[in-house]
């Protein structure tokens, strides 16, 4: 995370720890790394967020949740601004977030950007099965149930699972 906290913004960051991604409800917006900046001026607060994927339909819900939580905590007015640059990367996801993802049954993103290239038919990225910890897995489809995930299957325990692809 690229943020600094001080005595004024600290309570806001604490509140944001409890604003969850509606599609992956174990991850907070901080775990995801989408909160880029918080500024507080008296009762007024501005939160700057960046989308994970361009078309992520969860962004509007996330925006509204942040607003609701901060208003409930007594801040007013609350503005949530969206910026696109610099573009979000899974490198911004917290270690805590990766642990929670795995516990939830979604393989967390690998640390290196191995998939954002143009080489065709390359050997699948090594992804660990979140159920039995085997590395003996294969990719079924590079697109999954949401924009941020790919579909994998474990060759050992045979369970299919989502992989939060590195981006």
């Amino acid at each position: 995370m690229l943020h600094t906290t001080d005595i004024a913004t600290q309570p806001v960051w604490t509140i944001l720890e409890n604003v969850m991604d509606p599609e992956v409800p174990v991850l907070s917006v901080l775990d995801l790394g989408i909160v880029r900046h918080v500024s507080v001026n008296g009762n007024e607060v501005e939160v700057v967020i960046t989308p994970t994927y361009t078309g992520c339909p969860a962004m509007d819900t996330i925006k509204a949740s942040i607003q609701m939580e901060l208003l409930a905590a007594g801040y007013s007015p609350v503005s949530v601004k969206q910026v696109l640059s610099p573009a979000w990367t899974t490198d911004w996801m917290s270690e805590e977030g990766k642990r929670k993802l795995k516990e939830y049954g979604i393989a967390p993103p690998n640390p290196k950007q191995q998939v954002c290239h143009q080489h065709l038919f390359v050997v699948d990225e090594a992804v660990q099965c979140p159920h039995c910890q085997s590395w003996h897995t294969r990719r079924i489809s590079e697109f999954g149930s949401t924009a941020c995930k790919a579909l994998y299957q474990c060759n050992d325990c045979k369970e299919p699972f989502d992989y939060f692809k590195c981006h």
Binding site: P51, Y53, T54, G55, C56, P57, V83, L84, S85, P86, A87, W88, V115, C116, H117, Q118, H119, L120, F121, I140, S141, E142, F143, G144, S145, A147, L151, H167
Partner: protein, 253 residues
Amino acid sequence: MFLLNYTLYLADNALLLGHRNSEWCGHGPVLEQDIAITNISLDLIGQARNFYQYAALLKNDGSTEDTFAYTRDIREFKNCLLTELPNGDWGQTILRQFLFSNYQYLLYEQLQHGHDQQLAAIAAKALKEVTYHLRWSSEWVIRLGDGTEESHRRMEQAIAEIWSYTGELFIPASYELEANANGIAPDLKTLEVSWLQKVNEIFTAASLSAFAKATADKVYMHKGGKQGNHTEYMGYILAELQFMQRAYPGAEW
């Protein structure tokens, strides 16, 4: 004015192809590929939203992203004809996606370093996703072209159907020329060279011959979309896309 038009051009391409791809939802040949094409759809519609939001800011007359998508009439849409063509079979959809992703990839690669900050930010963000689209569609062109006799035949047929809609991608409209002169948009001539190289590379790997023939014959190229002169398919798309706002202006969820 050129900046608004150029932004709308980028938005309309993304919206129309996104809309066409979304027609596959629930109809894909297998579940995983149905999910893939609709994910691509989602990315494209997301891009369109970002561009329309910026266009609304530029226009500054109370327009919103929805005004552009739902209330403009056919002549105001600037998308290339390629993006509005019917899906055809899976091969034709794949081919169109490859040809367009190849274009979008090269375009955004330059746009992200252009002089307009917001367009550069949208492009840099989208480029990561377009990389997936290009890789996925390239692999499928090869798989189908170099697959069975039937899949090969259909890919050749798809090329015959849509190749003549690719020329327009590289014929600049006035707003593209101005955007280029202002250091915002790339030169389409340079883009075309890289685009053709990639097409050649993938078609060769896919054992597709029609491409060589198409260029040798210097086929007629359709154009006009960038200026708002669309195919007969466009009106049907808008009828579906805009029905709610036409029937119930201002309706909201």
